[in-house]
């Protein structure tokens, strides 16, 4: 896949040269996981009120304007797992999504922004297993990986063997990333051993594919549970932890994000392994995408502003970003119909 952004800009990829293609797995050390450390789970403390106060000031302590905002929004696009998980998806709508992933912005906007050489594109396309093959075909040559939601998405209550089969099938169909869901009951009952074993098995099934573990935080009841589940997922070898399926009553929120990101930070301190974060669900505005970027920059560092370690799972977000970028370019407020639909 392509991440022109990782390179030295002076060496450049201007003039439509072939993109430098590197597979994620080859560039970043995978998270091998570690033995389940129950004692560290017991020690975890999350003060909800304090976390919420922190969350409330993430969007008020930081902001980006003008060129900075435009650049940051472009960056947000490159971190986008462009997603369609609708029951009425057809091959046609999936192909449309893939086309949008390849070319998320109107050419004239790219030119006005002076970023044609950056080859701005979405980080990945995220679909159900049934549409993996279609998406892989539609994205051929783009370097954009296909993500399959899996393991009984969204509730995670399929038979365990079927969950594993589903992962294998998606890999065979060409998915390079697998977003698995956890069994919420294990977390709610505090049965961390079982959750750990389940995720170890998923991780093994994923092989070389990136595994993102969806915690479905909207169903975990407390931030303490979110903190513990995050740690278990990382110990089990998750490459990313992800907030939501988009189907829970509460989607990605900044307080949840803070708790998960701090788990990633702790894990990094403890093991030296950098793992990724993916908020998903309910992120529809450019402004909220920026808040997530502030969160990553403030609580982590700039490495977490890149798709290797940060993704935003969204479908409608791109449309708002397009409008904001056009506003930056023209100084006039834009309209959705001026931008190619998904």
């Amino acid at each position: 896949m392509t991440h022109a952004t990782r390179g030295d800009p002076s060496k450049g990829t201007q003039g439509g040269k072939a993109p430098r293609t590197l597979h994620l797995a080859a560039r970043l050390e995978r998270n091998p996981g570690m033995p389940l450390d129950l004692e560290s789970l017991q020690r975890l403390r999350v003060n909800r009120s304090a976390v919420e106060r922190r969350a409330a000031t993430i969007p008020t302590r930081r902001t980006v304007k003008r060129e900075w905002q435009a650049a940051w929004l472009l960056r947000a696009i490159t971190c986008l797992d462009l997603t369609t998980l609708a029951g009425d998806d057809t091959g046609h709508t999936v192909r449309r999504l893939c086309a949008k992933a390849r070319q998320p912005l109107r050419q004239d906007l790219l030119e006005a922004l002076g970023v044609t050489h950056l080859e701005i594109k979405a980080a990945a396309v995220c679909v159900y297993h049934r549409h993996v093959a279609t998406a892989v075909e539609a994205l051929a040559g783009s370097g954009i990986p296909v993500v399959a939601v899996s393991a009984g998405f969204p509730a995670g209550l399929s038979a365990f063997s079927q969950q594993l089969d589903e992962i294998h099938a998606s890999l065979q169909a060409g998915a390079r990333e697998i977003d698995v869901v956890i069994t919420r009951a294990h977390a709610l009952r505090g049965d961390w051993e079982t959750l750990y074993e389940e995720l170890r098995a998923f991780r093994q099934a994923c092989g070389d594919a990136l595994m993102k573990v969806i915690l479905a935080t909207g169903e975990l009841a407390t931030l303490s549970n979110v903190a513990r589940a995050s740690r278990v997922a990382l110990m089990a070898g998750a490459d990313f932890i992800k907030t939501s399926t988009g189907r829970e009553p509460v989607n990605a929120t900044l307080p949840v994000g803070i708790v998960m990101v701090r788990a990633i930070r702790d894990y990094l301190e403890q093991t030296g392994v950098a793992t990724g974060f993916k908020p998903a669900g309910g992120i529809r505005t450019a402004k909220s995408a920026l808040s997530w970027l502030y969160l990553m920059k403030e609580e982590m560092d700039d490495r977490w502003l890149r798709p290797e370690l940060f993704r935003i799972g969204a479908s409608r977000l791109l449309s708002d970003i397009e409008r904001q970028l056009e506003h930056f370019v023209t100084g006039r407020y834009s309209a959705a119909h001026r931008h190619p639909m998904i």
């Binding site: 009120s49 008020t60 060129e67 650049a71 940051w72 700039d302």
Partner: protein, 803 residues
């Protein structure tokens, strides 16, 4: 100029300035200079003097400000006095409408005020926009409510009069609101002296009051430096001074107003502890520290400036803290994406630098982030000191800048000891996920505000104010309203001031009853009244006795001639009895009932003593003893009923307003009603958990001295009540000067009261002096909530919750 592709790579933050155009043009429209706001008009200062208010981020002058002189302050006080009769007598609802309008107006002009504040003070626009100005509006709305409810909720109370208010530069407009809203709500009129460095928002607010139709003279503004403040403090027609600022100036004000009859509230400095236990959410602790010491560049009186950390987690926490400090952004205050702006003025910047240098010289390890501060303007980076001992200057002195000192502890007890190892007592922050621990520690820290797992939370419904040398009085909530009210019975009583050492007018008694039973063939057994210290009868240290005489000059008895050492011993005994304050109020009630029970059978004996001393008549004397027994019952009744409150603040959590005892108090009893007056002071003080050193009437000490024989039989723990007889002036002075006495009540002459107030400045102890003759039989004057309020201080404990 950075380009989009460049920023796309660097992912840096860029400038995000809030425009200052509207605020600068607002200043310009006013000619770039401001007069004084007196009687609803802008007037030129008689003094003819002026100075520049400077933008500390650019060092550019913003506006020319008038320096009010004596004639100007006098004119403002006169305007406030003239407005008082009408403002204080209109219905509460009318004042409520005015305060409501002020809250509305603040919201309507919120951004202008936020930008002006940021320009004048140097604090980040984020803070003025999101914290200062919304809280200002909140204070006016909240107090509009108190105004509406005043007649029913504060029945029997009237406004104090003309209030002089002097506020600091760290929260210029917020302090206007904290001071002005309750004062106006209660029906007072105000002369406000904003801080020299930051007058602009107060002047803008003056304009707002005028436009909102506040009656002329109700609110007046005199600008200037400390000299102007001094003129206001010393003006004879000011009834009350409310001051927020340094402890040094607070002490001066206490001195300057001693004996003037002016009421006083002081909200002073702090060196507030930020206590972190090993089970805290450390990442949240780090953000708490940011909010504690890097909020408003650390120029916050209640800043959590002493980080006390459990040894086992100290290194881990400090590592996290250093990492967080690297992420802080210091820059132009109007930039919407900075965490810290500029220090208010060069003098403050210099003080911070000096103290930091001192810290380094004294061997503490200093750490600052790797990035550099802007060099134009008065900026200072966030600074962390480790390896700090309690003896270090930086651990003791209020720095009032973005400088944190950290120390470690091993046990909760040691944490409390370190937390209280300061002359201040403004606020504290306690971090633990163990509720048992949090609620155990909060009452043991000497501070007016304790935040559990949080810091620097403020609201109009919750009282704010200090213990110890952080001042006294509360701002906000019901407790804050009392500061601007006084009992209405005082209206007439003011004229009946005591002459110095006056013998109270008493009904001349006709019967002369001897102390021993008449007709006994034996000589009377000698009765020696000793001191009562630490539960023991002690001879006076001096070895002298003083003769007590009847009004007609007959020798009645002797009492010990107490001296400084007796007071010293009594104070130590009182401190040793600290458990009394922690005992249950039910237990304290039982003891008070028991004292009454044991006094009751000795009614005749005490009546004889009273009559013998005062010749008041047998009936009157008996009446006094019975009233004393009733008074003991009153406070036995109150002991378990003087509840605190749960304030309704906008927070998921509770704010507990706890009435805590002041500690060790000196009580100097009035000469009138030698038993009832004495018990009227001792009973409320001990009912709420204080331990007292009580000085009976100098002229009529015997009944109070005899009382120890009652106390001894009533299971009162040793040291709770200590009685020292002798010269009122001598003993009062020792008590008022004693650094380990936390409060003094004085009922006596104006000179004596003045001495108490003056001497109290040394440790800013709470004083309650009354030079009027109270009718101690009148339950409104002689007992009740007024006494209980004076015997307690409110601690607000903020407990956010939620899992």
């Amino acid at each position: 100029m950075s380009t989009v592709p460049e920023i796309f790579e660097t992912m840096e933050y860029g400038p995000a300035p809030e425009s200052d155009a509207a605020a600068l043009s607002w200043i310009k429209q006013r000619g770039g200079q401001f007069g004084l706001f007196i009687g609803g008009q802008w007037v030129k200062a008689e003094s003819g003097q002026s100075y520049d208010s400077v933008n500390p981020a650019t060092t550019e002058p913003l506006a020319r400000i008038s320096q009010a002189g004596g004639a100007d302050v006098a004119a403002a006080v006169q305007a406030a006095r003239a407005a008082f009769p009408n403002w204080s007598s209109v219905p509460g609802h009318a004042r409520a409408r005015h305060l409501y309008a002020l809250g509305r107006a603040v919201q309507k002009h919120s951004r202008l005020l936020a930008v002006l504040e940021s320009l004048d003070n140097g604090k980040p626009i984020r803070e003025t926009r999101d914290l200062d100005i919304p809280l200002v509006a909140r204070h006016f709305y909240h107090h509009a409510g108190w105004s509406q409810l005043l007649e029913t909720e504060f029945t029997g109370y009237v406004p104090v009069g003309v209030v002089g208010q002097i506020i600091p530069w760290n929260f210029p407009l917020l302090m206007v609101a904290w001071k002005v809203a309750p004062a106006l709500a209660a029906g007072n009129t105000v002369v406000l002296k904003p801080a020299e460095f930051t007058p602009l928002t107060a002047l803008a607010f003056a304009e707002i009051t005028r436009d909102a139709g506040l009656p002329h003279g109700v609110f007046n503004v005199v600008t200037g430096d400390g000299e102007t403040g001094k003129l206001l403090v010393e003006h004879p027609d000011v009834d009350k001074i409310a001051f927020t600022g340094s402890t040094e100036v607070g002490r001066f004000i206490r001195h300057a107003t001693a004996g003037s009859g002016k009421r006083l509230i002081l909200e002073l400095g702090g060196k507030s502890p930020f206590v972190v236990f090993d089970d805290a959410d450390l990442d949240s602790v780090v953000e708490g520290v940011v909010d504690a010491i890097w909020f408003n560049q650390g120029q916050v009186c209640c800043a959590g400036s002493r980080l006390l950390v459990h040894e086992g987690i100290a290194e881990r926490l400090l590592d996290k803290l250093r990492a967080r400090m690297e992420k802080l952004r210091v820059g132009p205050p109007q930039d919407k994406a900075v965490d810290m702006g500029a220090i208010v003025a060069p003098v403050q910047l210099e003080r911070i630098r000096e103290l930091v240098n001192r810290g380094v010289e004294e061997g503490a390890a200093m750490w600052q982030p790797s990035w550099a501060c802007p060099t134009e303007g008065y900026f200072y980076p966030p600074t962390l000191f480790t390896n700090v001992s309690p003896a270090a200057t930086i651990a003791q002195v209020e720095i009032f800048g973005p400088v944190l000192v950290s120390m470690t502890f091993r046990t909760p007890a040691e944490a409390v000891e370190l937390a209280n190892n300061t002359t201040y007592g403004l606020a504290a922050s306690v971090w633990t996920e163990n509720m048992n621990l949090a609620l155990d520690i909060a009452p043991r820290i000497k501070a007016g505000v304790v935040w559990i797992n949080s810091t620097n939370l403020f609201d109009a419904a919750s009282g704010f104010g200090g213990y110890r040398e952080s001042g006294f009085g509360r701002e906000g909530g019901r407790e804050g309203m009392w500061e601007y009210l006084r009992p209405d019975w005082e209206e007439g009583a003011g004229s009946a001031e005591r002459a110095p050492q006056a013998r109270p007018e008493r009904q001349a008694g006709t019967a002369t009853e001897p102390l021993s039973a008449p007709g006994s063939p034996l000589p009377q057994v000698d009765r020696t009244y000793k001191m009562f210290i630490g539960g023991k009868q002690c001879r006076p240290d001096s070895g002298y006795s003083r003769t007590v005489r009847t009004p007609d000059g007959q020798r009645l008895s002797e009492v010990g001639e107490g001296n400084r050492k007796d007071i010293r011993n009594a104070v130590e005994a009182a401190h040793a009895a600290a458990a009394w304050g922690r005992d249950s109020s039910h237990y304290r009630a039982q003891i008070l009932y028991y004292v009454a029970e044991n006094l009751s059978p000795r009614t005749d004996e005490f009546a004889r003593l009273i009559h013998a001393m005062t010749r008041c008549g047998a009936e009157a004397a008996r009446h006094e003893v019975e009233a004393s027994i009733s008074r003991l019952f009153t406070y036995a009744a109150w002991a378990d009923k003087y509840d605190g409150a749960v304030h309704d603040v906008p927070l998921r959590g509770v704010t507990l307003a706890m009435n805590e005892p002041i500690g060790v108090m000196g009580l100097v009893a009035p000469d009138e009603y030698p038993l009832l007056g004495f018990i009227s002071l001792v009973a409320p003080a001990i009912a709420v958990g204080n331990r007292v050193v009580a000085v009976p009437s100098e002229v009529h000490p015997v009944a109070a001295a005899e009382l120890y024989s009652v106390l001894e039989t009533s299971d009162l723990p040793a040291g709770v009540v200590n009685i020292v007889t002798g010269s009122k002036d001598t003993l009062t002075k020792v008590l008022a000067e004693h650094a380990d006495v936390e409060g003094v009540w004085f009922f006596g002459s104006a000179d004596g009261a003045s001495e108490v107030e003056r001497a109290s400045a040394s440790n800013l102890k709470r004083t309650w002096v009354d030079t009027r003759l109270r009718d101690w039989f009148d339950v409104r004057q002689g007992e009740g909530r007024e006494f209980l309020r004076e015997a307690t201080q409110v601690k607000n404990i903020w407990i956010p919750y939620g899992e």
